[in-house]
């Protein structure tokens, strides 16, 4: 299932946040979205996921979600959004309970996704007993449980320390290479963008417009930190971003 954004425009009151965004999110690929702070990345993701309505423009699904998909557009949030009163398994099962699956099937899915995110030993732990990295893995497990057609991730790793982040990046790449999924990945971190993105969408400062779309052809599993090609790409993205970020800062000072 792919997604098409057709000249999306959005404003909060009189503040225009997004202007004329047209994008295609191709099936089976990861699209990273970067842009200066406040340019509307999170807003764009909420629009794509149907949590908010765009002021104008349309978001279209191309094709049907694959069979067995319980929740086509599934979020992974920056702040994990786990229910603190439910155990790890309970948090995963929350996403399944409304679908009327037989108990055995629910159990099988929970066991499967917890194994895939290496959480089997923590089934019955409460969120307060988990580290930040583990909490985000629970959120990833919960998202995988509904077999999403498109994963919408809003800075999923930015609340974590750099070591945990590197490990979870490897997990994400591993999950994708084993079974490719479609994803929109919003991030501040240019390194994450070049390691994970098949396409990188650079947004301008607010109101966000598509400034450039960079396509990276290197297969995900061959991308390494320190690879000269990727470094060069990252450097170029940074110079694009820098102008925007500086201009955005300047605007704030002028206000």
């Amino acid at each position: 299932m792919d997604l098409h954004l057709d000249s999306i425009r959005h404003a909060y009151g009189s503040v225009a946040v997004l202007e004329d965004i047209s994008l295609t999110i191709p099936s089976g690929r990861i699209v990273c979205v970067i842009g200066p702070s406040g340019c509307g990345k999170s807003t764009l993701l909420r629009l794509i996921g149907g949590l908010e309505r765009p002021a104008s423009g349309a978001i279209l699904q191309g094709g049907d979600p694959p069979a067995g998909c319980l929740n086509p557009l599934t979020f992974i949030f920056q702040d994990f959004a786990l229910l603190p009163w439910r155990s790890v398994a309970g948090n995963v099962s929350l996403a399944l309970e409304d679908h009327g699956l037989p108990n055995a099937e629910t159990e099988r899915i929970i066991g499967d996704v917890l194994a895939r995110t290496k959480l089997s030993d923590f089934r019955d732990a409460l969120p307060k007993q988990l580290s930040g990295g583990m909490k985000q893995r629970v959120a990833i497990a919960r998202a995988l449980a509904v077999n999403p057609a498109v994963l919408l991730m809003d800075e999923p790793l930015s609340a974590l320390d750099s070591q945990t982040r590197a490990l979870l990046m490897e997990d994400l790449v591993g999950l994708w290479t084993r079974r490719p999924f479609t994803a929109v990945y919003v991030t501040h971190n240019l390194q994450e963008a070049v390691l994970l993105g098949h396409e990188i969408v650079v947004l301008s400062r607010r109101p966000g417009r598509v400034r450039e779309i960079v396509k990276l052809e290197t297969p995900l599993q061959d991308r390494r930190v320190g690879d000269p090609d990727l470094e060069r790409e990252q450097q170029r993205l940074w110079s694009l971003m820098r102008e925007e970020a500086q201009a955005a800062d300047q605007e704030l000072i002028d206000v």
Partner: protein
């Protein structure tokens, strides 16, 4: 290399500099079981000592040992249960009605804007009315017997519960509700699995206040026309200026308050063990 030297030097910092003062203490309530009872006993011993030596005159305060003797007498004669039984029944029925309706209405106010717009002013108008002032009205509406007492306690516990419940629903983490919506949970599932558990801490702390108010109103109701009940007992003692019996009655109320508070605490520890 430099790290190794640093850690080897650590033990004799005493002669190389001043120890960094600890200033991170406090602001973290911990459970101290014995402080409460200890303070209580000390206070009673002080009064006992004061009344025995005459520092406190017999008209000011009764002697704690005399109050205890009255209490034992009350127990032996079986009158204690004759008074306490009806009181507990009234509190249980009235508070269950009031708290139950309060939680239900409070959650509805929290969930629906129309209910909120309609009922919050009404609740704000009822809240400050001293409910005891309405007792004569309740007697006409619900009869002089138990009905008016139930109604008084129910109304008195209802308003604080409503306010606590809708405040608690308002305080439920919106990002969790968003999460529920993003997984396509039904409205009913979101309420049952996210809103209600998330509001539970606020509802339970409101319960402490409501039940204490319930006890106050219980006594007030029993002072106006009841043959048996802690309130009737206290009223009778008061009109005879029998300080020992008055204080025995008041002690029963205090113990009731402590017990209610402790049971809410126990429920909180069970239901809210997920809290950090």
């Amino acid at each position: 290399m430099s790290e190794a030297t640093a850690s080897r030097n650590a033990p004799d910092t005493a002669d190389t500099g001043k120890r960094v003062a600890f200033r991170g203490g406090g602001f973290a309530p911990t459970r101290k079981r014995w402080i409460g009872p200890l303070l209580f006993i000390l206070l009673i011993l002080l009064i006992e000592w004061g009344t025995r030596t005459g520092v406190i005159s017999n008209l000011t305060l009764p002697r704690p040992s005399d109050v205890l003797a009255t209490f034992v007498e009350l127990w032996d004669s079986g009158l204690l249960w004759k008074h306490l039984g009806p009181s507990l029944g009234r509190l249980a029925v009235g508070a269950t009605l009031g708290v139950g309706a309060g939680v239900a209405i409070g959650v509805l106010i929290g969930l629906f804007s129309y209910v909120r717009a309609g009922l919050t002013p009404l609740v704000a108008a009822i809240f400050p009315i001293p409910k005891i002032a309405l007792l004569p009205l309740f007697v006409i509406w619900f009869g002089i017997d138990e009905g008016s007492k139930y109604a008084l306690i129910a109304l008195g516990t209802f308003t604080p519960t409503v306010v606590a419940a809708y405040g608690a629903v308002d305080n439920v983490d919106r990002s969790l509700i968003r999460m529920g919506q993003s997984f396509n949970l039904s409205w009913f599932s979101i309420v049952r699995k996210i809103v209600l558990p998330g509001a539970m801490p606020g509802i339970l702390s409101g319960l402490r206040v409501s039940l204490a108010i319930g006890i106050i109103l219980l006594v007030a109701a029993e002072m106006l026309g009841a043959e048996y009940g802690v309130g009737a007992y206290i009223l009778e003692a008061g009109s005879l200026y029998d300080l020992e019996r008055l204080f025995a009655g008041v002690t029963i109320l205090s113990v009731l308050g402590v017990l209610v508070n402790a049971s809410v605490g126990a429920i909180e520890r069970r239901l809210l063990n997920w809290r950090v």
